[in-house]
Amino acid sequence: MAGAGQPGAAGGAGPASGSGAEAVGYRRLVVPLLVPAWAVVGLFMVLPVALMVVYSFLTREFRGGVTWEFTLAAYDQFFVNRGLFGDEPPRLEWTYITIFWRSIWQAALATLLCLAIGFPTAWFIATRPRASRGVWLFLITIPYWVNLLIRTVSLRFILRDNGPLNEALLALGVISKPLGIINTDLAVQLGLFYSYLPFMVLPIYAAVERYDHRLSEAAADLHAGRWTILREIVIPAIRPGIVAGCILVFVPCLGAFLAPDLLGGARNFMIGSLIDEQFRGSQGNWPFGAACAVILMTMVLAVLIAQARAALRGAGR
């Protein structure tokens, strides 16, 4: 419930990838065979998203829950400021837009960080002898067998002022007072980076593995230096993998609430935490939480559609 923006956004890519299938024969079997797919899409994609959209237009019930009266109050609360007592002329409400903006910024930074580390990692793995690649991939995925919450709490433990990282650096004399990383944007970045790195590494790995390294040789033969080869030959060739990795990291980072909550402290509020808060206890506001999720999902969809269009243009050139 708390991460209402996530399943909706992730499910948005579902129907597009399934629509290419074409039945050659056995027309009578088509409908029965499609039922499971429709059921999955309907139950886990259409229904939750529809619920979310409907709830965002309902009236807030105190102590949580909703009453079935349609209103735009949730969206009004998000975008419009009428002063503390609701009697001033309407102005644009910046509080939530700022939280959204900071979330986008944090997610983008985390994505860049994942790309900067994930790309060389993926390249390294994909250029190992075939037999050892599986071992490297296995090593990459091992930490992800542990629950995300536990990993994030552990990271908090490591980063806190009297945690192992600071203790070790203090003992070594590298620093004279604790770094104070915990409860900063940097800690959130580290948390997001650590949570989603494999989502960057795996698609890029798949793209690099398919990359024909003879293209690099051909470019070198045609007098291109190493950086030029990377920029002009390698990156365009594996671009689909890079784009996929960036989307797979950016989208969940945008809705993440564990890392900002546990590592960022009160000053580093993000969308995920905002939504999460609306569904907790008697202080919650379900329609407002749903409205935030709808706005988040709309934004993510807009980005994905823009990206898909850019990719189509690139392919059609």
Binding site: D212, R214, L215, E217, A218, A219, A220, D221, L222, H223, A224, G225, T228, I233, P236, A237, R317
Partner: protein
């Protein structure tokens, strides 16, 4: 090994797969490191230079065209890397594409071209930067027969037109014979023989070369004596013949090579044989015969109207034409 490649020549490295010819090419291009020895281009040692600094370009076996660039961008790439200003490189790319008859496809992506067209783009791309040596790694092996034959003629014409030294790697002897000014036959990392196509075919120095280039009959022969550039050899069955001496071959047991097409049927022939089978090849007839000692011996006759085809089982006499018998070094 030591190998001297003449300037402005069409030079071919010919050998079976795994003989080291592609490695040699990659050494020249700079993709492999030289562990010992020296490579010099026009007197300048180049072994220490990375591939992008060498005045050579390569046509790769799989073409290795950049898939995200148009044909024109592919051809211009090398010039752009050399810092040639845009108007000049555009003009040169157009000229290169005209030379390979693809000027009207400049805006296409490689995936939209046929194999033969991709091959031409690869050639234009490698020629565009104006290399002093062009390396070609089995560039025709992925094409079908008709296209391959057409490209042979075209490659040779382009080489003559541009005056660039071509170093061509192939395992296809027909390709090598039809295009080259000079051929180096390689086997197991060693050069077996260097010479013109005619020399390689008609005067092979050893059994490997004789057997690898075209068809031949390798016949054990006893060298009786060598004098004044002529060797006296005795073939199985006791036939004694004179043939050109080979360097370093003294009296003793050796082999001779006899090309099937240099043998005719004649009542006064030197060799006695029995016909086992006649294979019809259209323009030619192949006679599979056995010599008196039971060794197989192939004869190729032109399918002319006057040829009397012997029946299987017939005893025939084979006449070896002037110069048909070549003494081999091993």
């Amino acid at each position: 090994m030591t190998l001297d490649i003449a300037d402005r020549a069409f030079f071919t490295l010919l050998g079976p797969s795994g003989c080291g010819k592609t490695t040699l090419l990659r050494l020249i291009a700079g993709f492999e490191d030289l562990t010992a020895g020296e490579i010099a281009l026009f007197g300048q040692p180049i072994a220490g230079l990375p591939p992008d600094r060498r005045p050579v370009n390569t046509v790769f076996q799989n073409y290795a065209l950049f898939p995200h660039m148009t044909v024109a961008q592919n051809v211009e790439f090398g010039l752009r890397m050399k810092g040639v200003p845009e108007p000049q490189r555009r003009a040169r790319a157009v000229r290169m594409l005209e030379m390979v008859h693809l000027a009207d496809l400049a805006g296409r992506l490689p995936a939209e071209l046929s194999g033969g067209q991709q091959q031409r783009v690869a050639l234009a791309r490698a020629l565009a930067p104006g290399p002093r040596v062009l390396l070609l790694d089995e560039p025709l092996s992925a094409l079908d027969l008709k296209l391959r034959q057409a490209m042979r003629v075209e490659l040779k014409a382009i080489q003559e037109e541009t005056g660039i030294t071509f170093v061509f790697v192939t395992h296809d002897q027909e390709e090598a014979l039809s295009m080259s000014d000079s051929i180096a036959v390689m086997s197991a990392g060693r050069i077996q023989q260097v010479g013109t196509p005619r020399e390689i075919y008609e005067a092979p120095v050893n059994r490997f070369v004789a057997d690898f280039i075209g068809e031949t009959n390798l016949v054990p022969a006893e060298v009786e004596r060598v004098e004044c550039g002529t060797a006296r050899v005795v073939l199985p069955g006791g036939t004694a013949l004179a043939c050109p001496a080979a360097p370093g071959v003294g009296p003793g047991a050796h082999h001779v090579s006899i090309r099937p097409e240099r043998v005719t049927l004649s009542p006064a022939g030197e060799l006695a044989a029995t016909v086992e089978r006649v294979v019809y090849l259209g323009s030619d007839l192949q006679l599979m015969t056995r010599l008196a000692d039971g060794a197989p011996f192939a004869v190729r006759l032109q399918n002319a109207a006057r040829v009397a085809v012997p029946a299987p089982g017939a005893a025939v006499r084979l006449h070896l034409e002037e110069g048909a018998v070549r003494l081999l070094a091993d």
